[in-house]
Symmetry: C2
Subunit: 277 residues, 2 copies
């Protein structure tokens, strides 16, 4: 019987295993400096932080420790967003209510110290983020732990911080709305048949066609993100080969990371609900 | 900084990641009912047992708990032999002497209770083993925990049990001779360049050409094992494609598991020595 922390770690590993996921590192694809083996190493390193969540610890502390461990490899940021999504879900699972309501409650009960730890996590690894919009009152995350005094002075919780970017960041949107797409992802993975990693790849393509991937917007621009969405739909419609799409997106370094993060969260929920593997 | 247990888990994951390894499940190859995702799940589940070794616990207890956790997936035996090889190495690492001498000392100091736990591990998962030869005095491992009274009565340590099959089992041979091929595997992995998983696959082919794989003897017969050795040499010599060899061996269900186990042990040692990844 796997623990909550083990299911969280397994979700990270199964996400990167599932293929084809156009543009992402997966079982069949590497970037030259960001390879499958970096993801595996990152998931091993993340465990101690995930175990803090599994012991009912604080979201921010669990997340920051997981990111510190994840970063102990040379590929850089492997699954920062996935861990940000899985951490509150793991705590909801430990609380015995892994539901949209339970996960929302975890997110809403985050504290100022959770926010400070969230910022601290940016000390460990470079994460692609946009210039903060002018209206944003929270400190720029790129300041990392240096932002702690400002966060405390403003009294911002982790929920507050994420709420500010919910309109431009798909993960922040999940965090502040009861994780609807993540639970829907779990439902779809559970509804399919076959190897779990194959189901996850099929659902990835659906998600990619349904909404723009905000990480692609950050990495590239809105036009590229719309193209990704359109071509994922074309692949679903059988008008494009998903494998050639995967090769092309890797070539162009288009990496729909937010959609991959949703897959990780969905796999975690499915594992907690006892999906057979 | 990864712990000893984390390096052991990572070694399991990197071994199954490394490709091509003719005949084995790897990043590119599955058997229909024994897939990459089963190995990943097994490695996640093995962690609690590996952590017992990492805390300096008993070899037998650590091994048995790791196998119990590994078996919590539907693929069956994924990395039984690899865990059997890594466990004493992990304890040697914790003891501060991860050398042939240190590992030999761990193996030689095993107790009767380690042997009992070793047999108990066979309760958790089906492992391909030969009919025991008539001259063997140790109980048939397939009896699992039922053999405990006999083991205790005979006063057999885990070292004693493995010594009896050292002439027919490549892992038992390692266990009872200071793990020479395992340390040589580590040396070769360290001496190469490039992604660690790629180095491991290259060394796998060398090992396969150098000695017969005793697991292939068990699964098939000596003739098949000799063919595997010969054709691995042909692949090294450029006379055969290693990828077509990999496809053919999977098709014929020829699975050089002992050689894969040596790779796991070698990766573990290389990780402990600080190989960069």
């Amino acid at each position: 019987m796997r623990s909550v922390a083990q299911n969280a770690q397994l979700a990270l590993l199964l996400e990167v295993t599932s293929t084809p996921k156009p543009g992402n590192v997966d079982r069949e694809r590497d970037y030259p400096d960001l390879r499958f083996e970096h993801f595996v190493t990152g998931a091993v390193g993340a465990y101690d932080g995930l175990a803090i969540a599994g012991d009912g610890g604080a979201v921010g502390n669990a997340f920051e420790r997981a990111i510190a461990g994840m970063s102990d490899q040379e590929g850089g940021n492997t699954q920062f967003g996935a861990i940000l999504l899985v951490t509150p879900l793991a705590i909801a699972a430990v609380d015995g209510d892994l539901s949209p309501e339970g996960a929302r409650a975890v997110a809403e009960s985050t504290t100022v110290e959770d926010a400070v730890d969230f910022y601290r996590a940016f000390d460990h690894v470079g994460v692609a983020v946009d210039e903060p919009p002018e209206e944003l009152s929270a400190p720029d995350v790129r300041r990392g732990s240096d932002a702690a005094p400002d966060i405390r002075e403003q009294g911002l919780t982790l929920y507050d911080v994420l709420a500010e970017s919910a309109n431009v960041d798909g993960l922040a949107a999940e965090w502040t709305s009861g994780f609807p797409r993540t639970f829907e992802t779990a439902r779809r993975i559970e509804a399919r048949d076959g190897p779990v990693a194959d189901r996850a790849a099929a659902v990835f393509l659906e998600l990619l066609a349904e909404e723009i991937d905000t990480f692609v917007v950050t990495q590239h621009d809105m036009e590229t993100a719309r193209e990704v969405q359109r071509r994922a739909q074309a692949a679903l419609d059988g008008e494009e080969s998903v494998r050639s799409l995967a090769a092309e997106f890797v070539e162009r370094e288009i990496n729909p990371g937010t959609t991959a993060d949703l897959i990780t969260g969905g796999i975690f929920i499915a594992l907690e609900r006892g999906i057979e593997l």
